[in-house]
Symmetry: C2
Subunit: 211 residues, 2 copies
DNA sequence: GGATAAAAACCGACCGGATGGATTATCTTC
DNA sequence: GAAGATAATCCATCCGGTCGGTTTTTATCC
């Protein structure tokens, strides 16, 4: 095994440990000792790969968002049509999904940090932009396929993404009164209705021409 | 001045100081020293009124949410009709609004804490429920006034509130790509369209009866 | 292939600073 | 003078980061 390979393995091992501890304790309460223990290394061992706690945390948040993004992309790729692609994120409300119980605490921590620290704001913003790019692509696809009337994808994609963010926040933080059924339905209703004026129906095209 | 009056004044002074420091530094980085300095008291003075940092923070978050709730209630009270009441929260995107620059960092901190600590989850959840009660009331009003068709207010109010949460989160944390205009319009579009099937139009009542 | 030296990886102990809370002393009010 | 309010100081603990020492790996030479 080469030094580069070992470094890759160690960094990955440390990131996984960091994400686990951050999710369990909250990133504000996660210590380097905790993470070192979870990684099966010493603090000095951690220091070899990540020069500071902040550097490790930025890397951990980036890793987390990369994984979530990939999972979302997969889910979208499987959806049959552009509207279905906009609605392809029920995984966000699935407790069995690997990154759901682990992920929301991490997401909220990143948001709390982002409110004060531009580095974290950048991490959050880049993830958001990536997701919005996916959604915009689906909207453009819908137009190309003649399923949606011509539209500006950007603000709509942003609205769609924000709806998911709001509903998911409520589902996770106030679950007693925001069930999964509510979440799934709220998202579907809101997004479907938001898209309503853009949907072309070939067989009913005459009746969609409102006065 | 009686002891009860002094206590009221001191508690209020300390809470204001706490909110100011929490907003500026983040609640995770706010120390009792910081808050004492901001309150013009010593740490010992703080300890007389709040027995622990946690007790002070819970009280501060509650104070914050109470103020935001009151501000939202006022804004709604001024709106002319039930649909306008659902849309009466442009203040959430107004940087001149007192609790906006100060409030979002506090809100995100509370959310991050709520992900791990049921006490904070309760504080957050109670605020959410209060807001939803206002929205539900407006929906019921709309039905009573014959402006909305009969509906179940609860899930709709929750969806409306979640939309605000998502859009506001994006506006505040990723402002470069989520302008105030986008936010105001996204909320208006999403909520108006979500309500579309429920809106009764007296002059066009016949055409709303879809097959 | 073996021996040797150098570099890298890793550990455990240590350090200085920060913090919440406790304690003692002082001040203020009744 | 007593009670309450407040300040200042102290204390124990915690934490990120450092550092000297040890172990492991790599590179070089014969």
């Amino acid at each position: 095994m080469s030094i580069a390979e070992l470094e890759e393995i160690r960094r990955s091992q440390i990131l996984l440990a960091a994400l686990t501890v951050m999710s369990r304790k909250g990133s504000f309460d996660a210590t380097m000792d905790d993470i070192a223990t979870a990684a099966g290394l010493s603090k000095g061992g951690l220091a070899h790969y990540y020069k500071s706690k902040n550097e490790l945390f930025i890397a951990a948040f980036r890793e987390f968002f990369a994984r979530v993004f990939e999972r979302c992309r997969e889910s979208m790729a499987k959806a049959p049509g552009p509207l279905e692609k906009l609605l392809a994120f029920d995984l966000l409300f699935d407790p069995q999904e690997p990154y759901v119980p682990l992920g929301y605490p991490i997401l909220f921590d990143c948001m709390a940090k982002a409110a004060h620290d531009a580095d974290y704001g950048r991490v959050f913003g880049e993830w958001v932009e990536g997701w919005i790019a996916l959604l915009s692509e689906a909207l453009r696809l819908g137009v190309e396929q003649g399923l949606f009337r011509p539209l500006d994808p950007d603000p709509i994609a942003r609205a769609v993404s924000a709806i998911y963010q709001g509903v998911a926040t409520r589902w996770f933080l106030a679950p007693a009164r925001h069930s999964r059924d509510w979440a799934v339905n709220a998202v579907k209703e809101a997004i479907t209705r938001l898209m309503e004026p853009y949907i072309l129906r070939p067989q009913l095209e005459e009746s969609t021409t409102k006065p």
